[in-house]
Amino acid sequence: MNRSIQKISFLLLLAAAVLIVFVPLLPGLAGVVFTAFAYIPALELRTFSLTGFTELLLWPGLHKSILLTLFIGLGSTFLSAVLAFSILQSCWGKRYWHKLEKLLAPILALPHVAFAVGFAFLFTPSGFVARILNTIFSDLGITHWSLINDPYGLGLILALTIKEVPFLLFMSIALLKQLNINSTLVMAHSLGYSNAQAWQKIILPQWLPKIRFTLFAVMAYSLSVVDVALVLGPTSPSTFPVLIWQWLNDADLSTLPKASAGAFLLLLLCIVALYLIRFVEWLVVCRQRAWQSSGRRSLPLPGKSAILFTYVISLTTLPVLLLWSFAQRWSFPDLLPSAWSLRFWQQEWLFLWGIIGNSISIALISATFALLFAIIIHEYNQHSVTHKRLPPVPRLLIAIPMLAPQLSILFGIQIATLFAARQHYYLWVIWAHIFFAFPYVYLVLDGPWRSYEKRLDRVALSLGMSPFKVWWKIKRPILLPAICIAWAVGISVSLAQYLPTLMLGGGRIATLTTEAVALASGQDRRISAIYALLQSLVPFIFYILAIFISQKTGMMIHQNKVNKRSVDSDVPISKKSVNY
């Protein structure tokens, strides 16, 4: 390919990426602002006013709900960051670390709602744990305190934490490889620092700024989550996003301005919380840095119990779901169902195929596009580092779909799609899935892209290869494992989309998730279990596939790992050749 053709096609792709990934933000944010200020022509509200906000502020229990939401968001983010770090501290470089790393895939594949359903099955007062306790201590009866829907949101915090810890671990792995942790550790040990001291005093201040963006995503998710909070969250009052969801769905349409004002406020809360993370990081890493050089002291962190706890709870949800899906009758306090039945599977079987096909094809298309765009924008951003005139795409802009409450953005996007003369439901839904999956895919690629040894590109260029060839023959294969995982993450994000599918698909498009959520409103545990299982199984297959592909094609890199079981087996491949 001629270089100018390459350049033009790159620019075209870049333009397409920017158009598809960022344009929906305009109607999305406009929609929130307009409805928040009570401008909704369809409801004969044609002037801007603050009625939405006044109604919102007058709502009894608002401050309580907001405080609760902040408590849950901050609590679960803080807890998952601490647990993830303590797991890294105690398990990194251990012999079983590789196995832990492999087990991350099925846990990451487990969608939040499916996990929440399984978590509820385990921990309701009549749940599996209670049944086991009942069997051991005979006839405890049902306790009147429950982790599920408890008034302080502790169950929700716990569930969110368990779900986010693997995500933080996953993102940390790439970052730590980039930080060249092993030589740092060797150095620190030689200075007389214990493992825990080295991690806390030397690696933490490096890890925290790098994991910042991921923590943003975790925080924004826990602050704005609706579906998990509906299953596990407190009810008196509900968390703030659940209230907004209820107002938005209120039969009385005049609550719409209140709901949008709420969505607007939630967006502000999110931004405040993100700055709070930034502030804490600044405090720990920059402002109050005396602790870093204050000597050989460390806090005891329960890393091994944390990993055990996270993995055991995450992985036991699956067998419990499986049991429920075959249970005809399973009443408290039986440990196993008293009557079994295949009928729930049989009844759904015929309808499942179409739904699974739909879900998978949408996920494949949108994840592939999201991946392509993420790669292009990463390349562009790296390019803009070496060419000062080009402004990079700001990370905050990329992150908005991940950080802003989905509900807020979607209403505006939905109205925008309706202005099109004809309805292209699949197009809108796929577009929306690309839009929401993109930031996650981008985030997963971020670490690998940064840690890539750029001099490899230089060497290849000076060997006379064209920039495209350098990318295709050198960079792409080296980063292929990360690309595969990012693709799988994109697929699982797409598979989990409920609101975009429903709101933009006009009900024409049924996916596993839309069915699962609709059925969950009826609370038949068996049917919920089937859909939750399938919801986990499908992304799981793609994670396995991604791992398989990356190992097959990245044979040489994999081989390196196997053959070099020395200390530097965790050094990133791109750096490996550098260290003699």
Binding site: G464, I557, N560, I573
Partner: protein, 228 residues
């Protein structure tokens, strides 16, 4: 064949000139060593000639290869090989693939493997052809890296402290071998280093600071050699 630089200067973010404008030319088979402490801008200078512009600096001056102005030629078309202190073998390719990938496009698919293996056997490394770079020793990697650069058939060579990471015993052997290869192929070579012992011929080096007098000496001598 010659590589020449005219009035090259590099200015950093604060507007400070890293060194006074530099001019020299290197004839084929000649190795010019630029000496200097770390941070004096010698690697940046090499990058500029190779075409890898760093955004932290602004540049002025011209570079010619065999009389052709290089400034506006794309990096991959400059035909300038570069060797770093790290071998930078492609980690996902085997040893022979690392060599084959460097061959110009005129080589056919089957030919590429043959040439690569032949090169390896000249280095007595044929047994390692199918190994991954991480499975061979540092000295072996350095030699493969050098051969990879040469297989791309460059018209000039840049050496960026190529020996600084090798231990002493390997170092002088490898250095002599590299210099021999460059002379054998009659390539002009520019090397930056901060180690006196790397310099092949004291007359062919510029000591820091690279003032004009020295530059003139080098250029004069070049001219004299030409006249001979």
């Amino acid at each position: 064949m010659s590589l020449s630089v005219k009035n090259l200067s590099i200015i950093d973010d604060h507007g400070k000139m890293l060194f006074s404008p530099l001019s020299f030319s290197i004839q084929k088979g000649e190795i010019l060593a630029l000496m200097g402490p770390s941070g004096c801008g010698k690697s940046t200078l090499l990058s500029a000639i190779a075409g890898h512009i760093s955004p932290d600096f602004s540049y002025a001056g011209e570079y010619y290869l065999n009389g052709v102005l290089l400034n506006n030629i794309a990096v991959e078309k400059r035909k300038i090989g570069i060797l770093f202190q790290d071998d930078l073998l492609f980690p996902h390719l085997t040893v022979w693939e690392n060599l084959a990938i460097a061959l110009p496009d005129k080589y056919k698919k089957e030919q590429r493997k043959t040439v690569a293996r032949q090169t390896l056997s000249e280095l007595n490394l044929l047994a390692l052809a199918d190994k991954a770079p991480s499975q061979i020793s540092g000295g072996q990697r350095a030699r493969v890296s050098m051969m990879r650069m040469l297989l791309a058939e460059p018209a000039a060579v840049l050496l960026d402290e190529p020996f600084s990471k090798l231990d002493k015993t390997l170092r002088s052997d490898f250095r002599n071998w590299v210099f021999a290869q460059i002379k054998k192929r009659k390539l002009p070579a520019l090397m930056v280093t901060h180690d006196e012992s790397d310099v092949p011929d004291p007359g062919q080096s510029l000591q820091w600071p690279w003032d004009e007098k020295q530059q003139n000496n080098v250029s004069d001598r070049n001219i004299k050699e030409k006249q001979c």
